[in-house]
Structures are given as C-alpha cells and as structure tokens.
Subunit: 168 residues, 4 copies
Amino acid sequence: MRRIVIGVIGPGEGAGQKEMDDAALIGELVAKAGWAVLTGGRVAGVMGAAAKGARAAGGLTIGLLPTPDTLGASPAVDIVLATGLGEARNAVIALSANACVVCGMNAGTASEVALAIRAKKPIVLLRADETTVKFFRSLDADVVRVAMSAGEAIEQLRGVLMSGAHSL
Amino acid sequence: MRRIVIGVIGPGEGAGQKEMDDAALIGELVAKAGWAVLTGGRVAGVMGAAAKGARAAGGLTIGLLPTPDTLGASPAVDIVLATGLGEARNAVIALSANACVVCGMNAGTASEVALAIRAKKPIVLLRADETTVKFFRSLDADVVRVAMSAGEAIEQLRGVLMSGAHSL
Amino acid sequence: MRRIVIGVIGPGEGAGQKEMDDAALIGELVAKAGWAVLTGGRVAGVMGAAAKGARAAGGLTIGLLPTPDTLGASPAVDIVLATGLGEARNAVIALSANACVVCGMNAGTASEVALAIRAKKPIVLLRADETTVKFFRSLDADVVRVAMSAGEAIEQLRGVLMSGAHSL
Amino acid sequence: MRRIVIGVIGPGEGAGQKEMDDAALIGELVAKAGWAVLTGGRVAGVMGAAAKGARAAGGLTIGLLPTPDTLGASPAVDIVLATGLGEARNAVIALSANACVVCGMNAGTASEVALAIRAKKPIVLLRADETTVKFFRSLDADVVRVAMSAGEAIEQLRGVLMSGAHSL
C-alpha cells in the first residue's frame, strides 16, 4: 500500500537540543499516524532525532543521504538511500515528501523548504521565528503553515493530507 | 533495522513477457529473503513486475521515479520517491542498492548496470546474452555475475551479501 | 583560461520589468568585466534578460536548463546545457558560479540562494526587500551582500572576487 | 550564437596513451570545426587530453566536474562547472552534448554512452573493440557509429550534425 511520506527536515550538526527534541517527537507522532518518515539520512541533528523517534514508535524510516556511501547514516533509518548527489538531494527530498515539517533552520534546510514550496508541498514550520515565517510566506502563503508544538504540527499535517489538496 | 535493498532493474515499456515473469519471481524471492526491493518506480515492464511480485509476497517495495510527480508509479510500490532527476535517477538507484538483479536490457538499464559496476556493487545478470555478459565483465569481472534462473540469481545474491565483500 | 562565472538568478515567467532591466544591465556589466554569465538557461524573465544583456555586450553566456531538451532555451545563451535534473539543477548553478547576483525572488530563486549560501559563495541581493535580506543574512551574514543598483552589485562582485576570499 | 557542443568522453586515471593521443586530436579537430568541447572536467586521462587539445587550437572548453569544488579540474577547461552530483553528472553530459566521441572505455564511460544512446544522441566510438561496438549497437544501432581515426570521427560528426537528424 502506498505510504504517505513526511519529510522531517532541519539542521544536522548545528541543531539545538530543542530542535532535536521536537524532531524526535514529530518522528514519533508521524510513525503513530501510520506515515513513513523521510530525512536527509544522516545521524546528525534533526535528521537523526526524527528517525530515532519514529523508529522507537515502530515507524518506517527512509533516509536520502547526500553521500555516495552510507557512512554517517543514522542507525535508526530502515531504508538508507545513498544518492551521491550532494546538496542536490535536497530537491529529491522536497519532491518525494507528501508534506514536510521543519525543525530549525540553516542554509541547507532553507533550500529544502524553498524547493518544497516550489513543488507546492504543504510545509509546517515548527517554532520558526518571525522573519523566517514572513519570508517563506512571501514565496507562497498557501502552502506554508506554522505550528508552536509537535502535536500542533501533526494536526496541521492531518488536516492538509485529509483535505486532498495535496498530490499523493 | 537497516534493510538490505536489492535493485531489480530492466526495461519498462519494451520489456518482454519472459523478463517480466523473471522480475516478478525475483521480487517474490527477494521479499521472502527479507530484503527490500528497489525499482525505477514505474508500473511499466520489469519495474512494475518486480514490485508486484514482492508486494504479493509481503515484501517492502521502494521506487525511485524519474519524474517530479507520481503519475505512472506502480501501485505495488510502498514508498514512491519522485526524484524529478530524469535519467540521472539511475545513478541514485545504482548507489542505493546493495546489489542488483538485471532482467533484460536497454539503454537505460545499461546505464544503471554501468553505474552500479562503477560503484563496485554486486550485479547479477539474469539470462543475459553473451555479448552483454562479455561487455560488462570487461568493465569489472569481479562484480558481474550471471544466472540462468531467478532462483539461481537469489542464491548468488545470498552468497555475495553473506560474504561481506559488499558495502552495506 | 579559466573564466570567472557569475550566476545571474531570479524569477522566470513571474519576473517584473524592473527585475529584467536590472538583469540585462548586470549581464552587460558582467560581460564587460570579462566574466561569463551563468543562468538557468530559459528565455523567460531574469534568465533571458541577463543572457541578452551579456550577449549584446559580447560576453559569453552559459545556461543550465532544468529540462532534458533545449526547448525554451534563451537564444542569447551560447552554451546550452540541458541537465534534465528539474529543480535539482539549482544546486548545480549554486556550485558552479563563483558568485551570484540575485534579481527578484520566488521559491526557485530562494532555493538557489540558499544552496549558494550553503556552498559559501558570495551573493549580492539586488534591491531585495528587508525581510529577504534579513532572512538570508540570518543563514550566513558573511556571504550575503546587498546592492541598490546594478553598478553597485558589480562593484561588490569585483571587491569580493579580488579579495581572494572566494573559491575559484 | 548557440554553440554546437561535442562531448569527448573516456577513462580518467586509467586511460592509455593511445586514448589520450586520440582525445587530444579529437579536441583539436572539434575546436577547428568551431564546436565547443564538453568533458567531465578533470585533468586526468581523456578528459584532460581533450581539453588540452582543444585549448591549444583556440577552442572553447567546458567541464562538468563530479565534485562540488574545482580541485582536480583541468587547467585547459575554460568553463569549469562543479556539479557536486558525483556520477549522476554523467547524465548531464549525455544530455548536454549534441554528439559524443568516445575514446576508450570503463564503467563510468559506459554509463555516459548508455545515457547518450537513451537520449538518442549521435555517438562515435573511436577504435572500440568488437564486443563494445556490438553491445552498444544492440541498444540502438541508429545512433552508434564507429571510427578508426580521429579524423574519421570528425567526418562522421560533421555528417550527422549537418543531416539535421539530431536535436540541437
């Protein structure tokens, strides 16, 4: 059965504890909703935390690594795909996710969000600052949502995925 | 738990019945071995047959589509990843599979086999003709194997994956 | 002789007249500086205007199209490279340019800017609004510059390219 | 003016002297025909030799590197594009060249030839062995040509590019 795939994206090495805690909880809630978690595959930061949270809840986890090999992959990723594309794999994450939750921000994450907006994918920015929200909403207000907790983010995903206003 | 991922590759629209029957059986046997099946995602030809065979046997199926959307995806693929990369997604399939089984041949398939050889991935050519075998063996005899049945191909995969002479 | 390559990026179909005028002048000034212009290759908007401006001034123009064919390519591009990568070609533009000038903004452009910042490339935002500047500076203040005219943008490029603080 | 772009492809580090001599002469003749040379960008082997030959004859040279930086780029390449795509850049070379000349063979080169055949690009195999010719002709006999000298390869390119049976 075709699985709904939720991208959980955010900083790697530079992630803060709050962002990783959020990502872990998002991973858990996505798994409990029966959806698969898609990350950038690495063990670092938000990627690793989201995969770990989903795995602990019995979810299916997929990782699209930038590297041509699996060094640095999160041990909590079930399906490790070594793309070898470098940062161009961000475009693949953006297109492959049915929707994305964003925990934290850096340049790589910003590119994923922009590419997901370009592809008209629903995006939930979790606890994003005002400038970040304002900037991404200026690109396409229709697809960019904001949540102040992991639970709220999941409710937003549920709403948008059930509305059928997305492409599965 | 990190899943072993087996690429099952071959022609789409131009596939013959024998190749699709082989692919379906390979899909089934890969699933029964507990491995995930990775294909080019489309419903056509070898891709669709391999996914269908694996799905029927309760296996996990992943598809890396060349398109930016999921039109044309096989309904038997659980995790549909729309790469938007066109034929460059062949490089991602080659790097992401732990090993590949090849059913039939055309230009796209040849590129995947060549890229998998480049990445030193074990490859089993199923019922390939003499020229095809000779050509790919001339590129790297160490990684190119030949099988005359789906069962033999799976035995070869089992051997090479257990030998640890591959990168997981 | 290795040519310095300047990416001129911005919206395609949705570009405004002011942005296209800016892009044409940037193209002209880049050409007069002896640098090559790199665009997304299409005739639409900022891409087409930049190539046209550079061509008229005798410059060399290179275009990295998202499509696998050359339909829609600007007639002012000398070297048309059909990548077939879709939006993943934005990552190639970001890595291939020695520096970028940005005229206008949309989701695709934002992804290119973010990827260029990720790669530590000098970026000049031309006439960008306050939110855009603030957002991209929050990602990496060191590489993001702002200019209020095409001439000023070129001066900024000249400064940064001569400082040697960039990777050629 | 839109330039005709000829891919000159073949092994890097493993190239033989004869292949590099051929590549250098191909580069020279392509340049003298007024066409641009496209290579994989690196200084090694056929790539470097083709760029050097073209440069010496006053031609324009473009290189699509697999790496995200320009380390290892041939000094004879005018336009160095660091794709960061790894071997997926082979797909970009195949799509971007109007036609290809192939000097020598290995797994990476084979993937480029297969992808160029997939894209229906005219290909000239220079001094290829019988198995290689037979294999690639089995994929698509219409686009695969064979030449026994650099001069003959250029004549074949001239014929096919003038026939208009290619996509520019």
